[in-house]
Symmetry: C2
Subunit: 130 residues, 2 copies
DNA sequence: GCTAAGGCCCGTAGCCGCTACGGAGTCAAC
DNA sequence: GTTGACTCCGTAGCGGCTACGGGCCTTAGC
């Protein structure tokens, strides 16, 4: 299959496929006579793995590690567990951060009595506190 | 005061001050004889406003708008309200996204029986689903 | 006066993960 | 044969910084 079909099958942008190839996350594919990239089912699998990992927030370097582990069949999976656990901790930290932001924004919005910019609690809060 | 003092007073990196100046978020300051930047209390206020807005997740362009509104005393503050409200919605959307990621990661980790990479539920989940 | 340590100057390049652009070659259908 | 969709490639841009390198300035101690 050609690049756009692969991209569609895996659920990403065509340019993203080229990008992943450039940074060595996808192997260089076979080429047709005219120089078009040619992919098979294993490429779909690999790209899907990447897209799915991205959706869970893993970075591309972490994904490199996950792919390596997935390719090696017989290792104990402690390393994969560790990777995922560390990543989960980061996701949760980020979520808590956003939670705090949202709470503060809601507080500012609730307090706003919709007067002028001179008395606006939103602008005052940004100007005065911290 | 000089640039590093301003940065310390507002709680950001010195290079960030230069960056904000470069993109027009901070005005070009006075200079000492030797060409050193020279700041006053109003600069601290303005930079604090920016740092605080950044901490709440506003983008630099949004902050430009907030600063403009804060400077104009007599406008109705509906625009500031709107900006904050839109931003809050984005923060909450992002938070929900991270929530979903975290839940899925926890599910994968809980299922893992710590065997080999061949049977690891984490790697299987990434490979097979989606 | 001399030296050494620290600050500050500037422009530029790098980070992540894409996404877009432009100009050219290719392929299939009508 | 011509249209239109697809693909090729390299490079530049996004946001929001952060770091680097080479050089000037200031300050303190001797």
């Amino acid at each position: 299959m050609r690049i756009s079909e692969l991209a569609r099958a895996a659920g990403c942008h065509l340019e993203t496929v080229r990008y992943y190839e450039r940074i060595g996350l996808l192997p260089r594919p076979l080429r047709s006579g005219a120089g078009y990239r040619s992919y098979g089912p294993r490429d779909v699998e690999r790209l899907r793995f990447i897209v799915r990992s991205r959706a869970l927030g893993f970075g591309l370097d972490e994904i490199r590690g996950l792919l390596r582990l997935a390719a090696a069949g017989d290792l104990p999976c402690g390393e994969a567990d560790e990777l995922a656990r560390t990543h989960l901790a980061q996701v949760e930290a980020k979520r808590r951060e956003l939670d705090a932001m949202a709470a503060e924004l809601r507080g500012m919005l609730d307090a706003c009595r919709h007067g002028t910019t001179a008395t606006c609690t939103i602008l005052r809060a940004l100007a005065e506190r911290g």
